[in-house]
């Protein structure tokens, strides 16, 4: 597989770019934030987004989607990193669409996939239970109750959980076994608390107290959710890495432009070698991140069970690169970089969230070591 995009992929990326720059530039996020919008994203924009087909990127054509792959989902995610547009794309169109297409029953697919492609529903995925991403630690239990289950536990950092109609919940069904369940947001015993995050995107904390679900709520095979969850997370990680790349690219472009325009000591500050070298190093970081992210997306698309090392390499590297890009972005802009008026700070905030999401640089370096046998 070559590490360049094909013509169709380039066209997709270009059309997403012109759509987002036209309808939802960074000012769009700023407006929602300043209005303290309760949803945190614009449902009208989300429908327009769906009108372009983007929300159905991973939904098979038989269910009204584009039937494309994880590489294409990554390209859309990357463009969302440039404009910071809040949408339920990651929760609903990537994670939920992938896991339901991959492992959902025919009834689940018929009910949810067309609705996802049409932006008629929001589906959120609930995995994390502690402040750091530790997917091995799932304490939420699902006890058998006749043919169904009773769920007890709590979840946090559930993206778009505050407006989700349906939740995908990972719960323990045995000492060594996990199962994924579809839970209706209105289910008795389920409490959802909206959390507004630093980047003005929204997530939720869930509390599950004796929440009853039927056997039809199981995604895939009972007790086999662990492997499915790891693949689902790897899809999410690769797509988040692509968004981190988009954030880093955008900050870098804006920063290099500023180095050329800002004058001090009667010359553009971009003439100073102290800044030039740091910018050139960042350029290298961005290029190698671009390469490893594309490679990871391709690997996940080909076979999500065999992409673990590449995904962790890509997510770890993307976190490091984006972190460096936003820090240099603020520093090289100087005082104005600290002001809320300038967009650079918004990119720093988004990068912070995306780094924590599904494991930061350290988590994934640790996974690389473990998988590498050391």
């Amino acid at each position: 597989m070559t590490l360049v995009l094909n013509d169709e992929q380039r066209m997709l990326s270009d059309s997403v770019q012109s759509f987002l720059e036209g309808c939802a530039p960074v000012a769009h996020l700023r407006k929602l934030r300043d209005a303290r919008d309760a949803t945190g994203f614009s449902p009208a924009l989300w429908r327009d987004f769906a009108g372009q087909g983007y929300s159905g990127v991973l939904v098979p054509e038989t269910h009204g989607g584009l039937g494309l792959g994880v590489v294409e989902a990554g390209l859309i995610s990357e463009r969302l990193g440039h404009t910071l547009t809040p949408t339920p794309f990651l929760s609903t169109a990537v994670l939920a669409a992938w896991v339901i297409s991959r492992a959902g029953s025919a009834a689940q697919q018929d009910r949810l996939l067309p609705a996802i492609a049409a932006a008629e529903t929001v589906v959120a995925v609930a995995v994390d239970e502690c402040s750091k991403h530790r997917p091995a630690v799932v304490a939420t239990r699902a006890a058998r109750d006749g043919t169904g289950f009773v769920l007890d536990g709590s979840k946090l950092f559930v993206l778009d959980g505050h407006v989700a109609d349906t939740l995908v919940v990972a719960a323990r069904t045995g000492p060594e076994a996990l199962t994924l369940f579809l839970v209706d947001a209105g289910a008795a015993g389920l409490e959802i608390e909206r959390t507004v995050m630093v980047d003005a995107h929204n997530a939720a904390r869930l509390s599950l107290k004796s929440v009853r679900v039927g056997a039809e709520a199981v995604i895939g095979v009972i007790d086999n959710g662990g492997a499915l969850l790891e693949q689902l997370l790897d899809v999410g990680r690769a797509v988040v890495a692509a968004q981190l790349l988009g954030v880093a690219d955008e900050v870098f472009d804006r920063t290099v432009a500023y180095l050329k325009e800002r004058k001090q000591f009667n010359r553009p500050i971009g003439e100073f070698q102290a800044l030039q070298h740091r910018a050139a190093q960042l350029y290298c970081d961005l290029e190698l991140t671009r390469a490893i992210v594309l490679k990871a997306l391709q690997a996940v698309q080909k076979d999500a069970t065999r992409a673990r090392v590449l995904v962790s390499q890509a997510k770890s590297r993307a976190c490091t690169t984006a972190n460096r890009a936003v820090q240099e972005g603020v520093q090289m802009h100087g005082g104005i970089g600290m002001t809320d008026d300038l967009d650079i700070g918004l990119f720093m905030k988004r990068a912070r969230v995306l780094q924590e999401l599904f494991g930061d640089a350290g988590f994934h370096a640790d996974r690389v070591a473990t998988l590498g046998g050391y």
Binding site: T2, H277, L288, I292, S312, G372, G373
Partner: protein
């Protein structure tokens, strides 16, 4: 089966039949590399045979035209050959500054007569070349070089000194930057080729901190060089010099990505050991090695992406500077980690246990990676100016 797939099948069969078993083991020490030359030193009969067989097919330089000793393969076929050689683990039959550095220059700037004279000998590994660039007072500021070449009738008379001439003492010919006009800096430089056996050429090895070295100082004392050995225009050597440097950077940037026998993590396990969970006993080292392996994988992907872009005629030529910078720094990191993993073992300078301080010496040698072929700082200048378009760089 497409033509290309048929070529792949034939190539694989030929390699399996003709590449000696010994030439399919990874290159780990200097003697594993065959450099050819008038007085070639073959490590083994297998090494000699491998060069001979590949030369016959023109596959030391598969994509060159046959008239120049190449294999006449198209880009796609050459890529297939490379893939099949990698798949079998075949060593390069010939390591050659002639192939990597001089040939691109001759193909772009040389006369047809020069190409026909030199390229076939390079392709067959008959003449080994060295590079006369740096001087005692011309390092990063290469264009300040002072070695003079005066045109007297139909020949040049060369006087001066070069430093860091890799393998000068084992090379047959030199490609050399000389000053032909002292009034102009860049515009007073010419690109000359001459035989290292010419009277007036002497070499002296340079000992490095690693205790050994392929480098020499090279002295020119009234060396007579035929006028036809000038490449390109008189005083037109600087653009040739830069073009060659670009190829040199591409070559060096591959160092960090060379498929090593074992990963840094595996090597650390062997020397440090693991706990009951299989984790490296030194947790700080473990996280450093893991970060390194992440960057190593990302750099390898960057090299692949650059090659894929080049095949589509895309990409910025100055990317070679970025790759050279990153590859050199990465290789230094690798050897810092291997030295740290080795602990007291990696302090040995002599002794059979450490193969005479192999790790120790390689760790020291790697420090030169970010100096030779243009320092890291110079590479960053190039990226800042030519790719990012920053002012005044």
């Amino acid at each position: 089966m497409s033509e290309l797939e048929a070529f792949r099948a034939d190539t694989r069969a030929w390699l399996e039949e003709n590449c000696p078993e010994e030439m399919r083991r990874p290159v780990v020490k200097d003697a594993d590399m065959c450099w050819g030359g008038r007085n070639p030193r073959f490590q083994s009969e297998a090494q000699r045979v491998w060069l001979e067989r590949m030369t016959k097919r023109g596959w030391t330089v598969p994509a060159w035209p046959r008239a120049y000793g190449g294999g006449g393969l198209g880009k796609e076929e050459a890529a297939v050959l490379k893939q099949e050689m990698n798949a079998l683990g075949c060593r390069l039959p010939l390591y050659s500054f002639g192939i990597w550095m001089l040939a691109p220059v001759l193909l772009k700037y040389g006369s047809e007569e020069q190409r026909l004279e030199h390229l076939p000998k390079i392709a067959r590994g008959e003449i080994r070349w060295c590079q006369g660039y740096s001087e005692p007072n011309a390092g990063s500021d290469l264009a300040s070089l002072a070695t003079r070449a005066e045109l007297v009738d139909d020949h040049f008379v060369v006087n001066g000194q070069k430093v860091w001439t890799s393998y000068a003492d084992e090379s047959d010919w030199i490609f050399c930057l000389v000053r032909t006009d002292s009034a102009r800096k860049q515009a007073g430089i010419s690109f000359l080729l001459f035989d290292m056996g010419t009277p007036g050429v002497t070499t002296r090895p340079t000992l490095l901190i690693s205790g050994k070295s392929p480098f020499c100082e090279t002295f020119f004392d009234d060396v007579k060089v035929p006028g036809r050995n000038l490449v390109g225009e008189l005083h037109g050597g600087w653009s040739i010099a830069k073009y060659l440097l670009m190829h040199e950077r591409e070559m060096i940037s591959g160092i960090g990505s060379a498929v090593a026998d074992k990963s840094a993590g595996q090597l650390a396990v062997e020397s440090v050991g693991v706990d009951a969970q299989g984790r490296l006993l030194d947790l700080s080292l473990r996280s450093q090695v893991a970060s390194f392996e992440v960057d190593e994988a990302a750099f390898a992907a960057w090299l692949q992406m650059t090659a894929d872009r080049a095949r589509r005629g895309e990409g910025h030529p100055a990317v070679a500077s970025g790759l050279k910078y990153y590859g050199a720094e990465l290789n230094k990191r690798r050897w810092e980690l291997l030295a740290a993993s080795g602990g007291a073992d990696a302090l040995e300078w002599e002794g059979s246990h450490s193969k005479d301080g192999e790790v120790t010496r390689t760790w020291l040698r790697s420090k030169g990676n970010s100096i030779e072929g243009g320092t890291s700082e110079v590479q960053l200048n190039v990226v800042a100016k030519h790719i990012l378009g920053l002012p005044g760089a």
